[in-house]
Amino acid sequence: MILSVNNIYKSYGKEQVLKGITFEINQPQIIALVGPNGSGKSTLLNIITNLLPADKGEVKILGKSNRDPNIFREIAFMQDNTVLYDYLTGYDHLQFIGNIQGLSKKQLLDSAERIGITGYLNKKVKNYSLGMKQHLLLAMAVVNRPKLLILDEPLNGLDPTSAIRVRDLLLALREEGTTILLSSHNLAEIDRVTSTILFLKKGSLIQEDVSQFERIRYQFKVDDVVKAERALIAAGIPVEIVDDQLRMYRQDVSIDLILQTLEQEKITIDDIEKKVLGSEERYRKIFADTPQQSTKSIKV
């Protein structure tokens, strides 16, 4: 058992943010925690790492209570950049971790190189951009090769190159046996790395295996959409017209049969669009009833 979260409740005043959150992670994998802003993701991560006390419930990490500070020898938590000391250098932060955790200087420098922050390691954090701070936080999180790595919005502020690099790093860490629990809003990136998504809705958890809802969607732009639809339905291919185009899903159809049918009816294909759908669609379905903005009127 790597992580066991059992029946966690947490309220802020009258508002109950977490209601009986329970899940377990038993093997190395990458799990994403997804939910709208203010849904309690950071609260849950803070409770797991004992930065916040839960009202009720229990967390065990690697078979030990999360209250034992020594678990941080085996786990790491990457938070937001407000935890950095502006007047210290990046290396000062790593050196402190190295001293406390009994790491070697080589390990610190290897971690820095792996993340790509060697160039500004000896500058004070107050001179870092947002992306540089994120990189430093990541380097601090992976330096001790944790068995469980918890990341709160790791992709915030990263340029595409850095985002790809982080993604590759996470995948590599998973291969090395690290379990990763991350919260993120970047659903496209989540699809690329995670195997399980935990949706946090109204204080409760909905666990979904990514492979269950990954789909490929095709959209065809043809010269006679009505005729094409009739022909494809007659051929047993489920299709719908959306925005004057034909739409169908890879799991439902064979592309060859579609092309063959359209050719037979002498229908010209002007354009084909392919889209990989996954968590975004699932997210939409799960949170369809969640208002984006508060409908409460406020005084100004």
């Binding site: 803070n46 790492t49 004992n50 930065l51 916040l52 006390p53 500070p69 020594n70 678990i71 941080f72 020898r73 790491a76 938590f77 938070q79 937001d80 407000t82 935890v83 950095l84 000391y85 502006d86 007047y87 210290l88 250098t89 290396y91 000062d92 932060h93 050196q95 402190f96 971790i97 190295g98 001293n99 406390i100 955790q101 009994g102 790491l103 070697s104 200087k105 610190l108 000896n122 500058k123 004070k124 107050k126 001179n127």
Partner: protein, 857 residues
């Protein structure tokens, strides 16, 4: 037009930060404390009043006796008999006045006093003398009572009043004052610089806001907060007496003001109004300086430091140098009470506008200098890692956390800046000491010459009178006939003049000779002769009935204590025995201050404290001055501000504490690491400061006299013992200790005390997110603890309280033990109590940090 949007935005920010609430709480707390002090002192008013009436009692008795003596010879003289009747009436009215006071018939007192005053005036009109009032005191009392009777106002004590208008005046004197301005600066002065530190100024720079609007908005916001505080004080002065047993009073109550050619009275409402106007002017000026410093400096500590330095330095220099006491000097307007009570210092009350004009000018200058657009600071140079980046070999996590704390302080650079500030303050303080010492020394010789000339003139005048009287006596003798009654009177007068003035001439000649000898010895550095001369002069004032000691103390009949005279003499004897150089007081007579000389008027007390303070510029004496003038409060306050904030800088918007928590460290270890480093730094800076004081004095002048005598108060149980070897005066016993010993003990207690206060502030920081709240809470706990510990209610057990020992000098010289009549209070018990107290607070901190209530996020 005032930029309302920015102004309202500033007010909103202050509201959200609960600064209005904090100001209101502080204001109400201060008003409440002053009210309680006055309320509990109501019984003391009578004692004070009767002491102030003592001179009248003596004068009335003397006049009565004089008349009774003369009545035998002058009972036929109608004018004399009328005067005698008046004198008897004076005695009766005085009795009625006393009775009204005794029975606390405050409404009736003005009438009774007026009746008495009228008899005194009549007595003077008829050629009599009355010495119960100083200078214009009689006419001042008369005019005041006239106003009281006109408006049907009762008698009110000016120090302990609990009626709203007079109480408000007392409150204003305490808290609408210069120290209050300092507190306002600490609470509100970091608004602008915080915008830069937190980078929120970038948000403002992306809005259509000119720097003028920004600065004026901030300025008006800060002033609004001060006006709000004044309003709360004003309302509290009404509400608190109303609800807790005070009186409403009248805003027509007369307040005396001194004019160039006399005096007048103004109603108290006008007095308060002027006070508020002057205070707001001072606040405007001061906060314009805050804005200016925020423009040119980068960090909060520097802004606050330079502003406070400007405030207190400006006031000090203005008070010291006559050339600066000018209407164009904005600091001149910070002497609120003096300017109101002596309107000729201003000339025209419209000049109150000057500090406002300065404020406006400085805000304009600040706006001119202010840059809003900040470019990102990139490309700063590399900083070398600690120990070349090596990992520590030790596994001791407490040591590692402590080392990390130390490294944070080093990187942040605050300790370095702070130490520089402290050293600058020490240098500045020393410059002031040097100036004062040199001034006293330079004034000494001309002063002595002037007094020698004065006495010589007196001698000449008296000798001429004696010559004339002797000539008259000779003439009367030569006549040979039986002298007439008027000739007898003349002969009597002439003879008394010859005898009396002859004695005086003889005394003055001795005085002149002594002073000349003293002056010559002083110039040659013959300190033994100087001390002997001072002893001789002190003995004259102590023992010689021709020297009238009428110092306005609380003793019955006035005068200085037996203790003072004896201690002053013995001190000089010690100086002779140990061959020590003379040290000047601020006044000419070399008295030694003692706890037994309390003056009726606080102003007189303050003058006395100042005049008896010794001034010298040696290294040891500088440290002595540091400990005995409460300058150490500045160092203590700065240390608590810098090092006592503890956890607050890592909570709130900066959550660096959670970084530490995501390492294999317990919360108590984090707390202990901070505590250990803070205490070590505190001790180091304190020791460094003291050593620097000694060094600067030694280099500039000399090390000092280790054996300089410091008065040590002995407990009655010690002084009354059979083998007592000290000196026993009427009021109590004493002996002297070396200054070296005094400084070592005081220094040790001070160090332990400041470490104790740091421990308190670190524990307090576990509960707050804001450094200022920690500082204020620690100050309240320290002051409150000290006041409670040194009150007579708990005197038998206070030896266990560490707060008792916070005034280190008074422990090391035995004063606290004597005042509280507690034998167990000593330096050793103080060090133990402070150590134990420190450990207790650290344990509280450890326990709380381990508990589930300890919030890190």
């Amino acid at each position: 037009m005032i930029p309302m949007n920015m102004w309202m935005f500033e007010l909103k920010k202050m509201w959200r930060r609960k600064q209005f609430l904090i100001l209101a709480l502080i204001a109400v707390a201060c008003v409440t404390v002053i009210f309680l002090r006055n309320f509990w002192a109501q019984d003391e008013i009578l004692g004070k009043v009767f002491q102030s009436m003592a001179p009248h009692s003596q004068s009335v008795y003397k006049i009565g006796k004089q008349f009774r003596n003369e009545m035998i010879h002058r009972s036929e003289d109608k004018a004399f008999m009328d005067a005698y009747d008046n004198a008897r009436k004076m005695s009766t009215e005085f009795g009625k006045w006393q009775e009204a006071m005794r029975n606390k018939e405050w409404n009736h007192v003005p009438e009774a006093e007026m009746a008495f005053l009228q008899t005194v005036l009549k007595h003077i009109e008829w050629g009599g003398d009355y010495d119960g009032y100083p200078e214009d005191g009689l006419y001042q009392s008369f005019e005041k009572n006239k106003i009281l009777l006109e408006h049907s106002l009762p008698y009110e004590d000016d120090l302990y009043s609990i009626s709203t208008p007079n109480f408000m005046k007392i409150v204003f004197a305490f808290i609408v004052s210069i120290p209050a301005l300092g507190i306002f600066v600490l609470l509100l002065g970091d608004q602008m610089v915080m915008e830069k530190e937190n980078n929120t100024i970038r948000t403002l720079s992306t809005q259509p806001i000119t720097k003028w609007r920004l600065l004026f908005g901030k300025f008006m916001g800060q002033l609004s907060a001060i006006v709000f505080a004044l309003l709360v004080i004003f309302l509290a002065c009404f509400a608190i007496p109303f609800f807790f047993g005070g009186q409403m009073g009248s805003f027509s109550y007369p307040q005396m003001i001194h004019l160039e050619d006399g005096f007048d009275f103004m109603p108290i409402d006008r007095y308060l109004f002027l006070h508020v106007l002057l205070f707001l002017g001072a606040a405007s000026f001061l906060f314009s300086l805050v804005l200016l410093f925020s423009t040119v400096l980068k960090d909060r500590l520097s802004v606050l430091f330079f502003t406070l330095l400007a405030l207190f330095g400006g006031v000090l220099l203005t008070n010291q140098f006559a050339a600066l006491q000018s209407i164009i000097n904005p600091f001149y307007y910070l002497g609120f009470q003096e300017l109101i009570e002596q309107p000729n210092r201003l000339g025209n009350s419209l000049l109150i506008i000057i500090p406002y004009l300065y404020a406006l000018l400085i805000v304009v200058i600040s706006a001119t200098l202010q840059k809003i657009k900040h470019t990102a600071e990139k490309g700063k140079k590399d900083v070398l890692p600690f120990k070349k980046g090596a990992i520590s070999k030790t596994a001791n996590r407490l040591f590692l956390v402590s080392a990390f704390e130390w490294r944070k302080y080093k990187r942040e650079g605050v300790v370095k800046r702070f130490t520089v500030i402290i050293l600058l303050l020490i240098v500045g303080g020393y410059a002031f000491i040097v100036f004062s010492t040199n001034q006293l020394r330079e004034q000494y010789i001309p002063g002595m010459n002037a007094s020698i000339s004065f006495y010589k003139e007196m001698i000449l005048g008296f000798e001429q009178i004696i010559e004339g009287s002797e000539a008259l006596l000779e003439e009367l003798e030569k006549k040979g006939t039986t002298p007439t009654s008027s000739e007898e009177s003349l002969k009597e007068v002439a003879q008394s003049e010859v005898d009396g003035l002859g004695d005086a001439v003889s005394r003055y000649k001795n005085d002149v000779e002594r002073r000349q000898k003293e002056l010559a010895a002083y110039e040659q550095g013959d300190w033994k002769t100087v001390h002997e001369s001072w002893i001789e002069e002190i003995l004259l004032w102590w023992k010689d009935p021709n020297y009238m000691d009428n110092a306005p103390t609380e003793r019955i009949g006035g005068g200085l204590s037996d203790f003072l005279f004896m201690a002053s003499v013995q001190e000089k004897e010690w100086m002779i025995e140990h061959d020590l150089a003379a040290v000047h007081n601020n006044q000419s007579l070399a008295y030694t201050w003692s706890i037994y000389d309390k003056f009726i008027s606080p102003l007189e007390q303050s003058k006395w404290n100042h005049n008896t303070r010794k001034v010298d510029k040696t290294g040891l004496f500088y440290v002595y001055t540091f400990f005995t003038t409460y300058s150490y409060f500045i160092l203590a306050g700065l240390l608590i501000f810098l090092l006592g904030a503890g956890m607050t800088s890592e909570k709130g918007s900066k959550r660096t504490l959670t970084f530490l928590q995501t390492q294999p460290l317990t919360k108590s270890m984090i707390f202990l690491g901070k505590t250990g480093v803070s205490i070590l730094l505190t001790a180091s800076i304190t020791l460094l400061s003291i050593l620097f004081m000694v060094l600067i004095g030694t280099v500039s002048d000399r090390f000092g006299d280790w054996k300089f005598p410091i008065l040590y108060y002995d407990l009655p149980s010690v002084a009354d013992s059979a083998n007592y070897t000290g000196f026993l005066a009427e009021e109590g016993g004493f002996h002297f200790i070396d200054m070296g010993r005094f400084l070592l003990e005081t220094g040790a207690l001070f160090l332990a005390g400041i470490v104790f206060l740091i421990a308190i502030s670190l524990v307090v920081s576990l509960f707050f997110n804001n450094a200022m709240s920690v500082l204020l809470t620690t100050l309240i706990v320290a002051v409150g603890g000290y006041v409670v510990s040194t009150s007579s209610l708990l005197s038998s057990v206070v030896q266990w309280s560490p707060f008792t020992y916070l005034n280190a000098g008074k422990i090391a010289n035995g004063e606290t033990a004597v005042v509280l009549a507690n034998e167990s209070i000593s330096t050793m018990s103080g060090l133990m109590a402070l150590l134990v107290g420190t450990l207790i607070f650290i344990c509280i901190g450890i326990l709380y940090s381990r508990s589930r209530w300890m919030k890190m996020v």
